[in-house]
């Protein structure tokens, strides 16, 4: 059973506009959430994270929002750049178990 879901396999955005990637989870025990970015033939690269005590975390052009009641998180990229074109995975962990569950990824294409 998929505990972390990314329902949009792909997303296309114009350069300079906002990209919004969404992620839903089912396990209410998750308390740490992460976004990873993956280029072809490379491993996933850690991008940004948020703990369940916060509802927003910002790092430059990247902001992650967490809505615990809806079990939903999103990644906002603004402004989007062509170099942001990659597959983005969300991940979640909980119970201090250091076990991470990943979504299936969203392929973002930023059009110049």
């Amino acid at each position: 059973d998929q505990q972390v879901k990314q329902n949009s396999p792909s997303l296309s955005v114009q350069e300079g506009r906002i990209s919004i990637l969404n992620c839903d989870y089912t396990n209410s025990m998750f308390d740490y959430f992460l976004w990873y970015k993956k280029y072809p033939a490379e491993g996933p690269t850690f991008l940004i994270s948020i703990s369940s005590i916060k509802d927003k975390n910002e790092d430059g052009r990247f902001t992650v929002f967490l809505n615990k009641s809806a079990k939903h998180l999103s990644l906002h990229i603004v402004p989007s750049q062509p170099g942001d074109s990659a597959v983005y995975f969300c991940a979640a962990s909980g119970n201090a178990g250091n076990q991470f569950y990943f979504g299936t990824g969203t392929s973002l294409t930023v059009i110049p």
Binding site: V4, G43, F89, Q99, F100, G105
Partner: protein
């Protein structure tokens, strides 16, 4: 800071042959993970080590897969014998022990079983 190093990057073998993957985690990272990623899917955990102890191997197909982390640093993952369905990218990751420490991944080994 050197990242997680994996080798080989690519491996093509015939079914029923053995194969091994090697991983060197980030220095000081106690926790090491092996994940498998199939095309169009997210990474799925195979095994997790805390130092040299395998603390979660519930998803490791133990009839053909084995792993070790003898000195609590480098790790190897072995498949013997390989099957066609084992074709995937095998990712190693490491993290610091404790809450809210992100995983850092290597570039993976792409295995093709023919």
């Amino acid at each position: 800071e050197a990242g997680v190093v994996q080798s080989p990057r690519y491996k093509i073998i015939e079914k029923k042959q053995p194969v091994a993957f090697w991983c060197n985690p980030i220095s000081g990272h106690n926790t090491l993970y092996w994940y498998r990623q199939n095309l169009g899917q997210g990474p799925e955990l195979l095994i997790r080590y805390e130092n040299e102890e395998a603390v979660d191997d519930s998803q490791l197909p133990k009839d053909r897969f084995s792993a070790e982390r003898l000195k609590g640093v480098d790790s190897t993952l072995k498949i013997q014998p390989a099957e066609l369905g084992d074709s995937a990218v095998y990712l190693c990751a490491s993290s610091l022990r404790g809450n809210n420490s992100p995983l850092h991944f290597g570039n993976g080994t792409r295995l093709t079983v023919t």
